[in-house]
């Protein structure tokens, strides 16, 4: 087994009679992975299982080859920013990170250096001396992120890490995730904000009611949903001609002219053949300005797979 994977093998977790997650089998490579699903989908349960805060009722989990029950080994490699909004009482932001690092066995000077470094990284240097209890929601979110990053882990597990952050910090945080991912680390992020997930993820895990309904790269997941026609938006100078040519093909389900006359929305059962047709039309004089897949995003995929009954935030 490769040791750079996070693997879950038929993992289930029940809280008494209540289902947390059921029969989850995943193999997550390094990069940014988003766990997507509405509240109660099982995202936090899955993260807690990977971090060993709870144990699976059934199944087996390995994080870089380690069992989460070996917390003394695991947390040398894993940083987890939980959603729990409680901190040890009476500590300032700096003391919080410093005390946390002391528990790793670092020396006093090393703890101070790492704490200052990570606090600067999350943009909290000015507030480091203030009590965490007095922090705003966004600052608490950032200090939790700092806690997860402080010991430079290979796996970052972040539960709704972008909640409550202002746009500037949000963008800096996303860049931070990208940097970690390009260094070959795991960044596992849960979110119910789909456009965010689209922006940052290398792969997604879609969850609903404790089950994994789809996983992989978002385009790959979309292409596997055969029963739903693919929507493609084409901006061109001659939309009516393009629509009529398209309608001659049997794999085209619908061609809809955009109201402003700048293009056409095509629904097709075979995207590959349509793209070939598009190339042919372009060579034969239709001036195509842009082609955009209109529904290979998480929102559409989620909508197709789970439907409106558990709609997440767009």
């Amino acid at each position: 087994m490769k040791n750079d994977l996070i693997t879950l093998d038929n993992v289930s977790r029940f809280y008494g009679e209540v289902l947390g997650v059921n029969r989850v089998t995943l193999s997550l490579p390094p990069g940014i992975t988003s766990l997507v699903g509405p509240n109660g989908a099982g995202k936090t349960t899955l993260m807690n299982l990977m971090a060993g805060l709870i144990r699976p009722t059934r199944g087996r989990i390995r994080v870089l080859g380690l069992s989460p029950t070996q917390s003394h080994k695991l947390f040398g490699l894993v940083g987890y920013a939980t959603q729990f909004d409680s901190f040890p009482k009476g500590l300032s932001g700096f003391q919080f990170i410093y005390s946390f690092l002391r528990l790793f066995g670092y020396s006093n000077s090393e703890c101070k250096r790492l704490a200052n470094q990570v606090i600067e990284q999350v943009g909290l240097s000015d507030a480091a001396g203030r009590k965490v209890a007095g922090y705003s929601k966004g600052m608490r979110q950032r200090i939790r992120l700092a806690q997860a990053l402080a010991h430079d882990p290979r796996v970052l597990i972040l539960d709704e890490p972008l909640n409550g952050l202002d746009p500037l910090v949000r963008s800096e945080t996303i860049n931070l995730f990208r940097r970690y991912a390009t260094e070959g680390r795991h960044v596992l992020v849960s979110s119910h904000v789909l456009h965010e997930v689209d922006m940052i993820s290398d792969q997604v895990v879609l969850m609903s009611g404790g089950y994994v309904v789809a996983e992989g790269q978002i385009q790959g997941v979309r292409s596997e949903i055969q029963e739903r026609p693919v929507k493609i938006l084409i901006h061109c100078k001659q939309p009516s001609m393009l629509a009529s040519k398209a309608f001659e093909q049997d794999y085209i389900v619908e061609a809809q002219l955009l109201t402003e006359g700048s293009g056409v929305l095509i629904k097709t059962r075979d995207a590959d053949r349509f793209y070939r047709l598009l190339n042919h039309l372009a060579l034969n004089g239709i001036d195509i300005e842009g082609v955009t897949p209109a529904d290979d995003n998480v929102n559409s995929v989620y909508d197709y797979l789970i439907g409106d009954e558990e709609k997440v935030s767009p």
Partner: protein
């Protein structure tokens, strides 16, 4: 590895110290611990002032010992006043009983400078003489032993340990802050040890300070010479023994309530069960006695507390007398019992899940 564990334990102790020593939730522990100190101090201040007052009265109105010895029941009030002079304090009361004529009850107080002598007259005849001795040293020692064994060990330290040790895990689960430790590469056993030492340090400091202050407050009323003589004799040994018993009580009860905090969501029922077991100790058969902490702690106390004179004879019959354990046996058993409980607690800690929503 040991060095890492040591560092982690020290870090946990540092973090926990603030919570155990300065939490508002734990103020009542200080009240439990230091209430007897206040009582001993008030008593000592009162005893010293009383003694000074009696000495001053005796200087102003000296009465010979022979004159006191001359007073016998049956004498009239005038005869008593003739021999001793006017009392320094008196009170008169009149009472009707049925159709009988009114009767008078008069109380006189005299002093020889050290003791109070009370005379009780009924219808002008002396019917009762009471000589109230001042607090003597042996008396105070017995009072200290009784209060230490029946209040301090069984209630103050017991509930103090409940308050501090139960909260080490359970309190953090309620505050939803226990995950702070669980996200570090620290063995659960090491976390448990760190928390136990933090609780032990807090309770040992609070309660041994209280024991030392109680001891000092108890001695305070006596003259310097009496204290020096006592300390030159068994004094320091007794003092050391009381401090050690206090610390051992924290060691033993601490481990039990740490485990209770891990095992039970609501610690009230298990605490009540342990309290009942410890309180029922005098009535238990000898073999079962040896399974309670209080048996070993009492065995280590330097002065045996006198039995309760007001105990009904029937209950007295139920008490099963048992020889106290030797010092070595008592200390060994407390330490072994503590280790056993801590080993069990560490097994629980290993399986502990952070699942705040269900707590």
């Amino acid at each position: 590895m040991m060095k890492l564990w040591y560092k982690q334990i020290v870090s946990v102790v540092r973090l926990e110290m603030k919570k155990t020593f300065f939490s508002k939730r734990g103020l009542w522990v200080y009240l439990l611990a230091f209430a007897p100190v206040v009582l001993y101090m008030v008593h000592s201040v009162y005893a010293i002032r009383e003694r000074q007052h009696l000495a001053q009265l005796a200087t102003e109105h000296p009465i010979s010992q022979a004159a006191f010895n001359d007073i016998k029941t049956g004498l009239s009030r005038d005869q008593v006043v003739e021999k001793l002079g006017e009392p320094y304090w008196q009170r008169t009361r009149y009472q009707h009983i049925g159709n009988e004529k009114e009767r008078s009850f008069v109380f006189y107080k005299y002093t020889d400078g050290k003791n109070d002598v009370n005379y009780h007259f009924e219808d002008d005849k002396l019917t009762w003489i009471n000589r109230r001795d001042p607090d003597t040293f042996p008396q105070s020692q017995l009072i200290f032993a009784t209060s230490f064994q029946f209040y301090f060990l069984r209630l103050a330290i017991f509930f103090g340990c409940v308050g501090i040790f139960v909260n080490l895990f359970r309190g953090e689960m309620l505050d939803k802050s226990l995950h702070f430790y669980m996200l570090t590469p620290m063995r659960r056993e090491v976390l448990l040890a760190g928390k136990y030492f933090a609780g032990l340090l807090a309770t040992a400091v609070i309660f041994t300070s209280s024991t030392a202050l109680q001891w000092w407050a108890m001695l305070w009323q006596f003259e310097r010479g009496v204290i020096v003589d006592f300390l030159a004799g068994p004094g320091w040994t007794q003092f050391g023994a009381y401090l050690s018993v206090t610390a051992l009580a924290c060691v033993g009860y601490g481990s039990i309530f740490l485990a209770v905090g891990l095992l039970f969501r609501n610690p009230i029922i298990p605490t009540a069960v342990v309290l009942l077991w410890e309180s029922a100790n005098p009535f238990l058969p000898p073999l079962l006695k040896k399974t309670s902490m209080i048996y070993y702690l009492q065995s280590l106390c330097p002065v045996t507390a006198p039995p309760d004179k007001n105990m009904p004879p029937l209950i007295n019959l139920l008490i099963s007398p048992t020889e106290p354990a030797t010092t070595l046996t008592a200390v060994t058993c407390i330490v072994l019992l503590t280790l056993l409980v801590l080993v069990l607690a560490s097994r629980l800690a290993r399986k502990l899940e952070i699942n705040y929503s269900t707590d």
